[in-house]
């Protein structure tokens, strides 16, 4: 079993080491042992976490549709995207990961909704703030604009279709 995890949350990256000793988990943060106590509420993936003696309620949810190791974690009224990579998978993924163009821009749906209009097609030149599409959610029409100038390389949605949060709408080259 791997015991060392590289965890990314917000701008921070940390190493969390989990070792089982006498049937209990021991935790080290960036190689320094840390006193924690974590207890699940029912089988709800909802935890009472004490770090030192500070008390936190934490709800953990695996992100569907993405890789196995991405979680949405709610704590203290905030919601975080957390990547957890064990050192072994990390080594493997480094070998396997294909090279993505550095200058490609992925335009994702900022919320779930209905694609009311698609305003560009592949090959169109776009400017910063160009209107790309209109997404309707809860009685409001929301403009999807282009964050920088470029050329539309792919359009992955059609008018009348629904999109979930984070679905790729377009690729700008």
């Amino acid at each position: 079993m791997p015991t060392e995890y590289r965890v990314r949350v917000g701008d921070r990256e940390m190493l969390i080491d989990l070792t089982e000793v006498d049937g209990q988990l021991r935790l080290a943060l960036d190689s320094a042992p840390l006193a924690i106590d974590l207890a699940e509420i029912g089988e709800s993936r909802r935890f009472s976490v004490l770090i030192g003696q500070r008390s936190y309620m934490v709800t953990v949810r695996r992100q569907g549709g993405s890789t196995d190791q991405c979680y949405t974690v709610a704590v203290g009224g905030q919601s975080y995207d957390v990547d957890v990579e064990d050192e072994r998978s990390r080594a493997l993924s480094r070998l396997a990961r294909p090279h993505h163009g550095e200058d490609e821009l992925i335009v994702k749906a900022p919320m779930p909704g209905l694609i009311r209009k698609v305003l560009v097609k592949p090959g169109d030149a776009v400017h910063k703030n160009s209107h790309l599409a209109v997404l309707e959610a809860m009685k409001m029409e929301n403009d999807i604009r282009c964050p920088r100038a470029g050329t539309v390389k792919e359009v992955r949605v059609v008018e009348g279709q629904t999109a979930n949060l984070g679905d790729v709408l377009m690729v700008i080259g």
Partner: protein, 443 residues
């Protein structure tokens, strides 16, 4: 008194009306669209009737379907809540045409007040001050620019036929702040408040108004006030009034509609303490207050002294794409303004909605903002201050990281052992995670 009332709405206001009905011993009838089959108002009402498909025009805005249900279930009255058909005089007339009671003002008063420009002209004629130059209909963008030049900026533009705040555009999320500006605003002196009350009564008398309504005035820096409009329905923030007066406005609406006495006179209405309302919307404050959809994974709503929650939320609920994103209202009461703000802050800390982004983080940080706490806010507050007061997240990131790592480890452990191995034993040993030992680092 009525025996059965149909509630022609959804969400937290439908829940609120169900409660008033129950306290009066009246059977409540919920209506719902296909998207709302398990909604909270359906859970709580005595009866529930399907209206039609999810889009509002085929369900909550379809007067014909609503009246058909009312006939079928034997309701004697219809409460329209707010939004949807609540300010629609034609609907009110259609309800009466069926021999049922519309719980709201007379259609004539609704018509007069519904057309905002005409309303301002009528009130000007009745001697109520209106904003200079604000009785003009702006037919085109060009005309608007001309008038704007005469009046001077900043301006508040409202669509003449708009309802539910949808036609009003100044800044993202103005509804979040509106309630905070109300009863009693620290900016208003007692004499100004009394003058406002008298002007409101003039408005009510001039329009032949009966039942609950709200008269809105604009107040300028010199405490001059001007009639803006009248909302001919139960106000979204009515719980603020209820908290300080102790009067249940929805029960009062129902009593008046049934032809019963109110049970109190103007001079019996006394205010005690201070109240605030925070509206919980399914909107993401970090993404320009755009709507956020999803399923509520976990929910903890605040409780305890001085707290009222009117909520449509429940664990397992899917936030529907089709309707207004208001999910719940948190109303606090305190003996004074400082206690009310402290309560609001405490209640917001307790409020936990997991699975959907809400305006809770925005409210939390507004309540920690000195200017807000002193009442020094205006309609520009959100655009100006929110980017600056966004929460620091360092404190809770570590808890998130640790919990995710432990869940990841459990998952791997289960995959190795399950389905043949003793997955339970694996978990049991994992979940008593304790590394409390002397000499361990504390943070």
């Amino acid at each position: 008194m009525f025996k059965k009332i149909l509630i022609a709405g959804r969400g937290e206001i439908a829940v609120r009306i169900v409660r008033a009905c129950r306290e009066l011993g009246i059977a409540s009838v919920a209506v719902y669209s296909e998207a709302d089959r398990i909604a909270r108002h359906v859970q709580l009402a005595d009866e529930a009737h399907l209206l039609g498909p999810a889009p509002a025009r085929e369900s909550y805005l379809d007067a014909g379907r609503i009246l058909a249900v009312a006939r079928r279930c034997g309701a004697e009255a219809v409460h329209p809540g707010y939004g949807f058909l609540s300010e629609n005089a034609d609907f009110a007339e259609a309800v009466a045409g069926q021999g049922l009671t519309f719980i709201g003002p007379p259609p004539r008063a609704m018509r007069m007040m519904g057309e905002k420009t005409a309303a301002r002209r009528a009130m000007q004629a009745a001697g109520v001050p209106v904003v200079p130059g604000m009785v003009q209909v702006l037919a085109s963008d060009d005309e608007a620019l001309t008038v704007a030049g005469q009046l001077g900026y900043p301006l508040l533009l409202k669509a003449a036929g708009g309802g539910g705040g949808k036609g009003m555009r100044l800044v993202a999320g103005p509804h979040d702040m509106a309630a905070a500006l109300r009863t009693p605003s620290p900016a208003l002196s007692a004499p100004v408040r009394r003058q406002l009350g008298e002007a409101a009564l003039t408005v009510v008398r001039a329009s032949g108004y009966v039942n609950a309504g709200t008269v809105e005035f604009l107040v300028d820096r010199d405490l001059n006030f001007y009639f803006l409009e009248m909302n001919t329905r139960l106000q979204v923030e009515h719980p603020v009034t209820e908290a300080v007066t102790g009067i249940d406005l929805v029960k009062a609406q129902i009593r008046v509609a049934a032809g019963l006495p109110l049970g109190f006179r103007q001079e019996d209405v006394t205010a005690r303490g201070h109240s605030f309302e925070a509206r919980i919307y399914a909107e993401d404050p970090d993404n320009d207050f755009l709507p956020s959809l999803g399923t509520i994974m976990a929910l903890r709503e605040p409780q305890g002294p001085g707290i009222r929650v009117d909520s449509a939320l429940f664990a397992g609920m899917e936030v529907p794409i089709h309707y207004d994103p208001i999910m719940a209202k948190l109303v606090v009461w305190g003996a004074d303004r400082a206690e009310a703000i402290a309560r609001m802050r405490r209640a917001l800390d307790e409020y936990e909605v997991v699975g959907v982004k809400t305006t809770l983080p925005f409210h939390r940080h507004a309540c920690s903002h000195d200017g807000f706490c002193r009442g020094e806010i205006d309609t520009g507050f959100v655009a100006r201050e929110w980017p600056a007061i966004r929460p620091s997240r360092v404190e809770t990131e570590l808890a998130a990281a640790i919990a995710a790592a432990v869940v990841e480890r459990r998952t791997r452990c289960r995959q190795v052992l399950a389905p043949s191995g003793p997955a339970r034993a694996c978990r049991a040993s994992m979940w008593k995670v304790v590394s409390r030992r002397q000499g361990l680092r504390k943070i």
